[in-house]
């Protein structure tokens, strides 16, 4: 220790001084500060991107976050503002119904007049995707995002059978295959985890059911997008806020049906009030066994499926459910990559 305590300078015959130290530190600081400024530009850019309203560019379906600036021809997110489509106080909750950010059990005690739910009768879904198109045009959804989508999958297998109707050189087969079309959308859960995690109370559950986002308040932190077990939320690349299915709240407040329900060719989607025992949804749910997606998570989904096989209700299992790639499928995945390589 003793020899250590001798200052290093004395060996070299120099004494320490503050100016030298400051000079050294400031030189280092200057170099690092310049590097920091470069990095700060990046932060600034990221911060400024929050208000980007750039000219629309022709883009494909595959756009990563921040690049999807095309909005089906609407380069300007404020276009036709006079129509009132951005008048959020009128659109989201015109009747000033109570809204809930947590403690959703209180909703029942407050005795709301309606409880809007959606019943999807899978026996009638043809997988035509017209609900997807209707939703996109009704709500002006940016390219690459969907508030509702229809997963088309094959369940079952092709098995060798003596008298099979698929005849090849190798033998004959029977196809024990079913095609399952599963329309998916926000479940407007009675216990929504996405609402509870919002740090700024920008998203809420309205007393009559819909889970909504106020885009004037959302800070776009993405917690709710991660917290939704159904991936029903996305970060809107135009408004830079979290966005989701609203059950077409402005339509139901006006006494209309949601766009996807109106357009459904097979009448597979049924919308109505669960508190009214005479409504079609109440009748359907009273007469047929219904399932919800991922019931094990305990979110109490309010979109009910008739004819949903239990295995399909939970996470997709590639072993039993082979997805057919429609344009709403997730192409940003290893599964999609494998499509181009020969399967084993």
């Amino acid at each position: 220790m003793a020899e250590n305590e001798r200052p290093a300078q004395e060996k070299e015959g120099r004494t320490p001084d503050r100016r030298g130290f400051l000079k050294k530190a400031l030189t280092l600081g200057g170099v690092l500060g310049a590097a920091g400024a470069f990095g700060a530009l990046g932060i600034g850019k990221a911060l400024a991107a929050g208000r980007a309203g750039e000219e629309s560019q022709p883009g494909g379906m595959l756009q990563a976050d921040g690049e999807a600036l095309t909005w089906q021809g609407y380069a300007d997110p404020n276009l036709n503002k006079g129509d009132g489509w951005q008048d959020w106080s009128r659109l989201l909750n015109p009747a000033k119904l109570p809204i809930y950010h947590d403690n959703f059990a209180q909703i029942k005690a407050a005795r709301p007049k309606h409880h809007w739910v959606l019943v999807v009768d899978l026996r009638k879904c043809t997988g035509c995707q017209s609900c997807v198109v209707a939703c996109k045009s009704e709500n002006n959804i940016p390219v690459g995002n969907y508030r509702t989508w229809v997963d088309v999958g094959q369940v079952g297998k092709t098995v060798a059978a003596a008298g099979g109707d698929v005849v090849t050189d190798e033998g004959s087969y029977v196809q024990e295959v079913k095609v399952r079309n599963i329309p998916k959308l926000c479940n407007h859960c009675d216990n929504p985890p996405c609402v509870t995690v919002c740090p700024v109370k920008a998203t809420f559950k309205r007393a009559d059911g819909p889970v909504l986002v106020d885009p004037r308040l959302c800070i776009g932190c993405g917690t709710c997008v991660n917290a939704c077990p159904y991936d029903a939320r996305y970060l809107n690349p135009i408004s830079h806020t979290a966005d989701k299915c609203t059950l077409c709240v402005e339509r139901i407040d006006a006494g209309l049906l949601p766009a996807c329900v109106t357009t459904c060719v097979g009448r597979a989607r049924v919308f109505g009030d669960l508190l009214d025992p005479k409504s079609e949804v109440s009748q359907l749910l009273a007469h047929y066994p219904a399932e919800v997606r991922k019931p094990e998570i305990g979110t109490k989904p309010q979109v009910f499926y008739i004819g949903l096989n239990g295995e399909l209700a939970t996470a997709d299992n590639p072993a039993s459910q082979r997805l057919i790639y429609t344009y709403t499928m997730n192409t940003n995945s290893t599964a999609y990559q494998k499509l181009n390589s020969p399967r084993k």
């Binding site: 400031l26 590097a35 509870t196 932190c221 997730n330 995945s333």
Partner: protein, 397 residues
């Protein structure tokens, strides 16, 4: 949906990392005050400055990753308490920042008063402002302040646990991500926070005291003591890693979504190397190195070991934040993700954050008298005209 993405990108990886360094360095700085370990006294002031530089940038990560960061004030005007983990984090961060500022004032006030007396010109004015006009250097007041300092440091340790535990909870609370929804998240984050904080203080202490202090001397006893503490924390961290693997990997024990996700991402997936070599491998390597007395006693070797720990903890953050999001929620396969070099959520943003932290640290290091040796010399000679400055000593190593 549509394209499933990694919504929380690199700034969110840096966010728990930076927060962990705050929590850890604060605890190291409190060793001498709260736990009576007087040999760590030289670290107390330095670690406060490190804590300060990092705490300013703790919320920059999530804000740089958020799409509407200009609405940050809503976190204070309409916080979602106590339900939202991020909402409560804002409160804990604010309390912690205030506590660090008060603690810095109390720790440096007497020095500021004394410096304001001996310095002249703008330096004297600066120190008078930093002392908030106080000139009282009586023993009585110092003793009183010391009591406060110790009390605040105790509260600060509690806040450090809350601060970093809550970041673990931001992930642990999200049941939609099977790899995050884990009760181990909070203790794992706290342990790795303390671990990375100690490692950072070993590196910073060695570098700063070797090259920037007046005596240019590193106390090998001090680093070796810190290494011994770090060794124990490493044992706990490795233990939590083992528990985590046992909890998530075997299909027979874990729930289906967790074990499938763990297998897809960490056993034969994109983050296999980052998990087994980056996170676990480097940690075990550092643990073995820290077990050697020779390594513990040499400050340079201790710093290298600490660097390994710092890298390993960064990998842990990456594996948690990115790995958890690779598992698809509504589609098949794994979500694809490559870290961007430039732009939103990129390496550039994280690099910029760390450079800004370094910049702030260098600024406060030049203003605050953290070096007791240099402070004594300054108080003796002052900056009065007539006292000639010695020739510039550039290298000094």
């Amino acid at each position: 949906m549509g394209l499933e993405q990694v919504y929380w990108t690199l700034p969110i990886v840096a966010y728990p990392y930076i927060s962990g360094l705050i929590a850890g360095s604060f605890i190291v700085g409190s060793l001498s005050k709260v736990f009576g370990q007087k040999q760590y006294e030289p670290l107390a002031k330095l670690s406060l400055l490190v804590t300060f530089a990092f705490i300013l940038f703790a919320p920059v990560g999530p804000l740089a990753d958020a799409q509407q960061p200009s609405r940050w004030w809503e976190l204070f005007t309409r916080p979602h308490l106590p339900s939202a983990p991020m909402g409560l984090f804002t409160m804990i961060w604010t309390a912690y920042l205030l506590l660090v500022l008060v603690e810095m004032y109390l720790a440096f006030r007497v020095d500021f008063c004394q410096l304001a007396a001996v310095e002249t010109g703008w330096r004297a004015r600066l120190y008078r402002v930093l002392a908030l006009g106080s000139t009282d250097t009586s023993e009585q007041r110092q003793a009183k302040e010391h009591t406060w300092l110790v009390g605040l440091a105790g509260v600060g340790i509690f806040l450090a646990f809350a601060f970093h535990g809550y970041i673990g909870f931001i992930f642990g609370a999200i049941k939609a991500r099977p790899l995050w929804h884990n009760a181990l998240m909070m203790p794992m984050f706290i342990t790795s926070a303390i671990l990375s904080g100690i490692a950072l203080m070993i590196v910073v202490y060695t570098l700063v005291f070797r090259y920037f202090s007046r005596e240019q001397r590193v106390d090998a006893n001090l680093t070796s003591g810190l290494m011994k503490i770090m060794l124990w924390v490493m044992f706990v961290d490795v233990f939590f890693d083992i528990v985590d693997v046992l909890n998530s990997a075997p299909a027979a024990y874990a729930n289906a979504a967790t074990s499938q996700g763990f297998a897809q991402v960490f056993l034969h997936g994109p983050l296999t190397g980052a998990f087994w070599f980056g996170q676990i491998g480097l940690l075990v390597l550092a643990l073995i190195l820290a077990l050697l007395p020779k390594v513990r006693r040499s400050p340079s070797a201790a710093s290298l070991t600490s660097l390994l720990v710092l890298v390993s903890v960064f990998f842990m953050r990456y594996n948690v934040v990115i790995g958890g999001q690779l598992q698809a929620k509504a589609s098949q396969g794994l979500v694809l993700y490559t870290p961007a070099l430039l732009g939103r959520g990129s390496v550039q943003v994280v690099f910029g954050m760390f450079m800004l932290i370094l910049f702030v640290f260098l600024v406060v290091m030049n203003v605050f008298p953290w070096d007791d040796g240099a402070l004594r010399q300054r108080l003796a000679s002052g900056n009065r005209p007539g006292v000639t400055e010695k020739p510039v000593n550039a290298a000094g190593r």
